[in-house]
């Protein structure tokens, strides 16, 4: 370790004890994770495709997370963000970013939809990051290098892969969120960072195309991971002045067997520092992956420990954090909870249909024209995106949606309602059904009427439900989902759905 680096390191440690200066330290304030409930067994993918691609057998171990038909980068980003912002004053946010290479809209601010769903102030900056799998780490680094109030980084990917491809086996769908800001409640402060950019085309997808085209894994491992990524990690460690072997946690987001270990070894990192790449349980979640691994580390890390985070894609981003004492006052076990809520799924055909890889006959009931007038969506955006109802200031009656004339039969007062958010309130099932007639890409279509704790009632679709999960009286929480697709005009409509708390508790 260079003497100047060591000095700077000691100085920073010393500074941390001085109260007035601590609030100037920028770092991670909070974090969140979301992993879809279903975990497709890789053996099921192999079983269906081995007639054509028997070599998939080498990868046919473990499971991968798969999003439901009504999820995308935006909805998953919202869920991870809610987990991240739990207990945080959302009014304190000054920015929100969504990083993804599977953005739902090419020209409409995806992060703007997350902003609406989180019911954040209109006076907030928002941007989408993409273009490479390191968009998640790049967005995090930008936020850390910025200044001002808290900035929310969400990273989410739901990538489409061809049947029988390696990508279909190795990828996973998930999201992570990190809140960056200043203050004495920073749980991890940035020690050093380093970025390199090289047009290394390990895989690519031209604008407008559906599928990636990938080059030979051996070349990617040797030149990409062994050369570019390893070099960037070494350079970042040098900048930090730390001894590589002393770093307690190394996040190298490569899920192929042995890949992360090889990079760690070449970088001088301790094998014990390697964070589980989550390949066996979730799969490679693209831009979200380094941040999802970071949530895993933050669930367990102790004050004073160092965490190296790498992102790879046309170069690399590397960051080194040091955990602060504030970590002891945050809720842990966030990724663990997401892992625990998984259910095994071997229905490969359903997965293909949900991805649009398999063009199933949806029937005439699916022909309903879902045209969404922009005008009515804009007018009703608080109700639609943020599930904001109303509470009568006179009677206290809560209702959804808001209306000029109150619903209370004892006092139909006019113009007395104030906005009343319902998205974060739990609810109880009043009545429900499992509808096999109504069109759903995940039949039977469950829906029902639910009563919110503290008032308010809504008839709503249910998400992630099976027969044993729901009954009259069941406790539910709300999740932000795709309500319908307008396949004629290529638009997707979002709204909230209810999910059993035992299953969907993010």
């Amino acid at each position: 370790m260079a003497a100047t680096g060591l000095l700077a390191h000691c100085l920073r440690d010393r500074l941390e004890t001085i109260g007035e200066l601590v609030s100037d330290i920028r770092g991670i304030l909070s974090y969140g994770a979301y992993v879809p409930r279903r975990r497709l067994q890789r053996s099921a993918i192999h079983a269906a495709n081995k007639w054509f691609a028997p070599a998939l057998g080498a990868m046919a171990k473990g499971e991968r997370a798969i999003a439901n038909w009504d999820e995308d980068a935006i909805t998953m980003g919202v869920e991870a963000s809610r987990d991240c912002l739990d207990g945080y004053d959302r009014a304190s946010l000054s920015g929100v970013t969504l990083a993804s290479v599977s953005h739902s809209f090419a020209d409409r601010l995806n992060a703007g939809i997350i902003k609406e769903a989180l019911d954040l102030s209109d006076t907030i900056a928002a941007d989408d990051r993409g273009g490479s799998l390191r968009a998640g780490t790049s967005a995090l680094l930008s936020a850390l290098q910025g200044s001002g109030s808290a900035h929310l980084i969400a990273a989410a990917d739901l990538r489409k892969a061809r049947a029988a491809s390696d990508a279909e086996m190795l990828q996973g769908d998930a999201s992570a969120a990190v809140l960056v800001g200043n203050g004495d409640d920073v749980i991890a402060r940035l020690v050093a960072s380093h970025s390199v950019t090289v047009d290394f085309v390990d895989h690519y997808r031209e604008a407008g195309e559906e599928y990636d085209y990938a080059w030979e894994p051996r070349w990617i491992r040797e030149i990409g991971h062994g050369g570019i990524l390893t070099g960037a990690i070494r350079d970042c460690i040098d900048r930090s002045g730390l001894d590589a072997a002393s770093i307690e946690h190394a996040i190298i987001p490569l899920t192929a067997r042995g890949a992360a270990a090889s990079v760690a070894k070449k970088s001088g990192l301790s094998p014990d520092a390697l964070v589980d790449p989550l390949g066996a349980t979730i799969g490679d979640c693209g831009t979200a992956h380094p941040l999802l691994m970071l949530t895993q580390t933050l669930d367990a890390a102790q004050p004073g420990e160092h965490v190296l985070v790498a992102g790879f894609g046309q170069g690399a981003d590397v960051m080194i954090f040091q955990i602060t004492a504030a970590i002891n006052s945050v809720r842990r076990g966030r990724l663990e909870k997401q892992l625990a809520r998984g259910i095994q799924d071997s229905n490969y055909m359903r997965f293909l249909a949900h991805r649009g890889v398999l063009d199933i006959e949806k029937g005439m009931r699916a022909e309903l024209d879902e045209k969404q007038p922009s005008t009515s969506l804009y007018r009703n955006r608080k109700a639609v995106f943020a599930l904001v109802g109303a509470r009568c200031t006179k009677t206290g009656t809560v209702q959804f949606p808001a209306s000029d004339i109150g619903v209370n039969p004892n006092d139909h007062s006019i113009g007395t309602q104030e906005p009343y958010p319902l998205a974060e309130r739990s609810a109880r099932v009043l009545s429900y059904t499992a509808d096999s007639l109504a069109f759903s890409l995940d039949p039977a279509c469950y829906y029902g009427t639910i009563d919110f704790e503290g008032g308010g009632r809504i008839a709503v679709e249910f998400a992630e439900v099976s027969a044993e999960d729901v009954d009259v009286g069941s406790q539910m929480r709300m999740v932000f989902r795709i309500k319908a697709y307008d396949s004629l005009r290529h638009f997707r409509k979002y709204f909230w759905k209810a999910t059993p708390i035992s299953q969907g508790d993010a």
Binding site: R365, V398, P409, S431, K483
Partner: protein
């Protein structure tokens, strides 16, 4: 309360097309089939009709948003024709328009005609359609069985009924209606079924199986009404009189938890029933009513409505059903014509079809299915929408001395 409609208007003619999958018919030919029967029954000429109300439930597969198609199909004498759309309660609402017109003196003779051409959708069940752009963003695009299945689950939970017991009571409703429909030559479904067939049928929307759901049919039905004085001047005797006509419409209370609706009953039906009994001077419906035609879109709807009409005690409707109280040979037959379940459910026509059956029964003209003990008071209940948000329409018709 308003003075009411009791005995101010008489029905002098009714007609009903054969319900079913009328592949060779358009809406206008179905209307003509019902209309020619009614005009002949009334013994009047089309030129005597002063005004008409035409009910249709689903505009998208029907006739468009005006009364013009009825005026053209029936070659009405350029009379005022109003199109009525009020979900599945449209038929009774059209009847209400015609009756009110006569009662007000605005028309001497008025026509109510309902029609629905459903079998041009390409699939079974009701058409999937928009409910307006605001609703489409925040509402559930479910199905009718799904909406009413929730009534079953709410009712079961409220009264602590075992799911299998309720399923069996619901099955009894359908078996009874199939037995009745088999005796009705105009009914869509004329096959008798047994309990096991209902219990073992495929699930449509938990807990409603295939035979808990009514038929979806093409059809038309109509009524010609006038004042009792004009009716007698036309030589009519033993008039069938309108005793009560009530419509109650949800105002959002059920859906917005402002009062505690628990999902186990139809709020508007209770309101409409109370008003209708008051209008008709009925004190004890279980003792005074002779016949019931209710909106049995699903077996559970009929069962729950028995309570909402105050014929059965709350929580006891299912035992009345199992006891045969509503069978054709029971105390108060319900759906003696087969009901929506088997006569069929061409939406806009259904309310008028119910009144048609009661009209025939009161006159002793119901053929094989005629109730032996001459009925004097008959109620029809027509429900549009879903349990949580709906329109309930009730028409009570009776003999002159009832």
């Amino acid at each position: 309360m308003a003075r009411g409609i009791k005995d101010k208007v008489a029905i002098i003619g009714m007609g009903c097309a054969r319900f079913g999958e009328r592949w060779e018919d358009n809406a206008d030919t179905l209307m003509v089939e019902a209309f020619t029967e009614a005009v002949a029954d009334a013994g009047i000429d089309t030129s005597q009709i002063d005004a008409a109300w035409q009910s249709v439930g689903f505009d998208g597969v029907n006739i468009g948003p005006s009364g013009i198609p009825t005026s053209i199909a029936l070659r009405l004498p350029n009379a005022g024709v109003t199109k009525v759309e009020n979900y599945c309660a449209s038929g009774t609402d059209a009847f209400r328009g015609a009756v009110y017109a006569v009662a007000s003196g605005g028309a001497d003779i008025a026509l109510a005609i309902g029609v629905e051409k459903l079998k041009d959708t390409g699939y079974g069940g009701l058409p999937v359609r928009t409910r307006g752009s605001t609703w489409d963003m925040i509402g559930v695009t479910g199905s009718a069985p799904g909406n009413f299945a929730q009534l079953a689950n709410g009712y079961r939970a409220k009264h602590g009924i075992d799911a299998a017991d309720l399923k069996r009571a619901m099955a009894h409703v359908s078996v009874k209606s199939h037995a009745n429909g088999a005796r009705n030559p105009k009914a869509h479904l004329r096959n008798e079924i047994d309990i096991d067939k209902v219990m073992n049928a495929p699930m449509i929307a938990e807990p409603l199986g295939l035979f808990d759901c009514c038929g979806v049919s093409d059809g038309a039905a109509c009524a010609i009404v006038t004042t009792p004085e004009i009716a007698r001047s036309l030589g009519k005797q033993d008039l069938v009189m309108v005793k009560a006509l009530q419509l109650a419409t949800s105002n959002g209370w059920e859906m917005q938890q402002a009062g505690g609706w628990d999902g186990s009953y139809i709020h508007t039906t209770r309101i409409a029933a109370k008003r209708a009994y008051e209008e008709a001077g009925i004190k004890n419906p279980r003792a005074e009513l002779d016949l019931l035609e209710v909106h049995d879109c699903f077996s559970i709807t009929e069962l729950v409505v028995m309570e909402d009409l105050f014929v059965s005690q709350e929580g006891k409707g299912w035992t009345d059903v199992l006891d045969g109280f509503f069978d054709a040979d029971g105390e108060i037959p319900c759906q003696i014509d087969g009901g929506l379940k088997c006569f069929g459910h061409p939406i806009g026509a259904s309310g008028l079809r119910m009144i048609y059956e009661n009209y025939l029964q009161l006159q002793g003209r119901a053929g094989d299915r005629q109730r032996a003990k001459p009925p004097k008071l008959a109620l029809s209940h027509n429900l549009g929408g879903m349990p949580s948000q709906n329109v309930s329409a009730i028409a009570i018709v009776g003999t002159e001395d009832a």
